[in-house]
């Protein structure tokens, strides 16, 4: 009996020691140990489910104006009350969340792709191309982004797609720098030299050798960029130069909240709380991913 238990123990030890895990698997294990990151991920998943499927169960239309029932207090029928046009805030919260999350995620994707492309080209080719691209990056970094976004918003009265473009065009620089420095170190490594020696084309070296090896930091920045993009969108919409009413977004739901603050404080609380929770969840997740991919950072 005792012998059998010992054998079992040995087997377990063997399993842990002998099976060599890939860097990605190791990262997954580290990630799962991080409670805050798991919390962030779960929260985010719940939020996504809430904005995607919540509206199915709602009996209100987000743009349904009810002038006989404006600024109503939260009640059983309207859980979070109504706004200055009698629209149900809870329903608008879900539809606004769709807009805010979609804009956050797509701006981040676009910004990261652009940044990765520029960083990859600069880091891989080096020389004049590198200098020119990095000068350009510095130039864009010098432009004060919030005032500029406000001006652009004032000019174009942007549609959601345009807003995504605007936000991402001012958010790619950090990624470009990151990818460039990663590429600069990676391209001197032996396996890249080997790939070149067997005649791989530049495109193939970039996409199948360098890029997969820089994926960790890229994913981390991507996550954090989603949070920043959501804040940008809501700030612009709050100031009246982002998503235009009647389309709801978490930012523009707060636009009229300030003038109604004394009579209807509930209008101001819920949308902002949603933004805070979402961005917080994203940042927890991003931080967890960062620790998972870069274990040396916090030791």
């Amino acid at each position: 009996m005792a012998k059998k238990r010992n054998l079992l123990k040995e087997k377990e030890i063997m399993d842990e020691d002998v099976v060599i895990k890939s860097p990605l698997q190791q990262a997954m294990i580290r990630f799962r140990k991080n409670k805050l990151a798991i919390l962030g991920g779960t929260l985010l998943l719940m939020l996504i489910l809430f904005v995607c499927f919540g509206p199915i169960f709602s009996k209100f239309d987000p743009d349904d104006i009810d002038l006989f029932n404006i600024l109503a207090k939260p009640s059983m029928a309207e859980i979070l009350g109504t706004d200055e046009l009698g629209r149900d805030i809870f329903t608008r919260l879900m539809f606004g969340g769709r807009v805010s999350l979609a804009i956050g995620v797509s701006s981040a994707l676009f910004a990261i792709s652009l940044g990765t492309l520029i960083g990859a080209i600069a880091g891989y080719y080096g020389g004049i191309i590198d200098t020119a691209l990095m000068r350009f990056t510095d130039l864009v970094l010098t432009i004060p982004s919030l005032p500029l976004l406000m001006i652009l918003g004032g000019i174009f009265k942007p549609s959601p797609a345009l807003l995504v473009f605007m936000i991402s065009i001012l958010n790619w620089m950090a990624t470009a720098r990151l990818v460039r420095s990663k590429f600069l170190t990676l391209r001197t490594l032996d396996y890249v030299k080997a790939a070149r020696a067997i005649g791989c084309k530049n495109g193939r070296i970039i996409f199948s050798h360098l890029l997969p090896n820089s994926l960790g930091p890229i994913i981390v920045t991507a996550t954090l960029t989603v949070g920043r993009a959501i804040i940008s969108e809501s700030t612009l919409s709050f100031l009246g130069v982002g998503i235009n009413p009647p389309t709801a977004s978490w930012g523009n739901m707060l636009q009229s909240a300030q003038s109604n603050m004394t009579t209807a404080p509930w209008m101001a609380i819920a949308p902002g709380l949603m933004i805070l929770i979402t961005v917080l969840a994203i940042n927890f997740l991003g931080d967890g991913l960062n620790d998972a991919f870069d274990p040396k950072r916090n030791e």
Partner: protein
């Protein structure tokens, strides 16, 4: 650098639909020719690149143009608005430094303690907070519910008592709102940075020499961790300045940020250009300052 930025900004501002002075066309007593004449007076009938060259030439000479709305020189208008903005940003800057650095350093010294966990979580909250909403919530709590602080503006009419106290009462909320994100960011940075420094060999040497722990921490570790922190803080100055746009709008603070918002609604190009250029100038200057400070604080860096 500045020229490149100015070209990009100028092109974008020019791309705005609707031209200044078109509002006069709505008045039946003003003829179309009259409006064309005033546009010609301000050089708006010329091609964009000529307009840009004129503007850039005047800008270099210190003439930033005339505001279309008030017909007063932009520089003079901005000079009026700059004081409230500096009051606000400087207060926020000082609050941030006073709170952020001790928080970060304490967190690093007592790593993994309850204090450390609390501040780390709080900094996450600060980084994730939408600034304008934080402002709204403070207004709701301290002005609407408790009535302790005025919700907006810089001064109130007919104050009883000292004017300075009135100003400070108005300043507390916007300054704290503006500083929140920097308190969070800088304390996080100084914590991680301090931890990094603590792992260095010279800290071990100092301890091995038998120096008191306070000397090691306060003297060796703190001074070394300040080097890169100072750089980060300097680089954040222009961001602080442009972040004031939102805070000033929420709290109706009569500074440059709110003026920017007003001018945007009225399409006052010269004013918008002026404010953007000040911002870009600040970015470049703080970059330079950060480099210089870094070289001065860290003797290893040579240029």
């Amino acid at each position: 650098m500045l020229i490149g930025v100015s070209i990009i900004i100028y092109a974008l501002v020019q791309a705005m639909p609707g031209e200044p002075f078109d509002m006069y066309l709505e008045n039946p007593n003003i003829s179309f020719e009259e409006v064309q004449k005033i546009k010609a007076h301000y050089g708006l009938d010329q091609p964009v690149y000529i307009q840009y060259l004129n503007w850039a030439k005047n800008m270099a000479k210190g003439d930033w143009g005339i505001s279309y709305n008030t017909r007063r020189p932009v520089l003079e208008l901005l000079a009026e608005k700059v004081r409230p903005t500096i009051e606000l940003t400087l207060t926020a800057f000082i609050i941030s430094i006073i709170i952020a650095i001790p928080l970060g350093v304490m967190g690093a010294i007592k790593k993994n303690s309850l204090f450390d966990y609390t501040t780390t979580t709080l900094t996450f909250l600060g980084i994730s907070m939408p600034v304008f909403w934080f402002g709204l919530m403070l207004q709701l709590l301290f002005s609407v519910k408790l009535g302790w602080l005025p919700s907006a503006g810089r001064t109130s009419f007919g104050v009883s008592g000292s004017e300075t106290i009135d100003l400070i009462k108005h300043l507390i909320m916007p300054a704290f709102v503006l500083s929140l994100i920097y308190i969070a960011g800088w304390s996080r940075y100084s914590r991680n940075n301090f931890l990094e420094v603590m792992n260095q060999d010279y800290i071990r040497t100092a301890r091995a020499k038998g120096l008191k722990e306070t000397t090691v921490l306060g003297g060796h570790a703190l001074r070394n961790s300040m080097i890169s922190l100072v750089t980060i803080i300097t680089l954040d100055i222009p961001v602080l300045f442009s972040g004031a746009v939102v805070t000033e709008t929420v709290f109706a603070w009569p500074g440059m940020g709110r003026f920017f918002m007003d001018s945007l609604n009225k399409m006052d190009y010269p004013v918008l250009m002026g404010i953007l250029m000040i911002n870009a100038l600040l970015v470049i200057m703080s970059n330079l300052l950060a480099d210089l400070l870094y070289a001065w604080l860290d003797p290893r860096v040579k240029y």
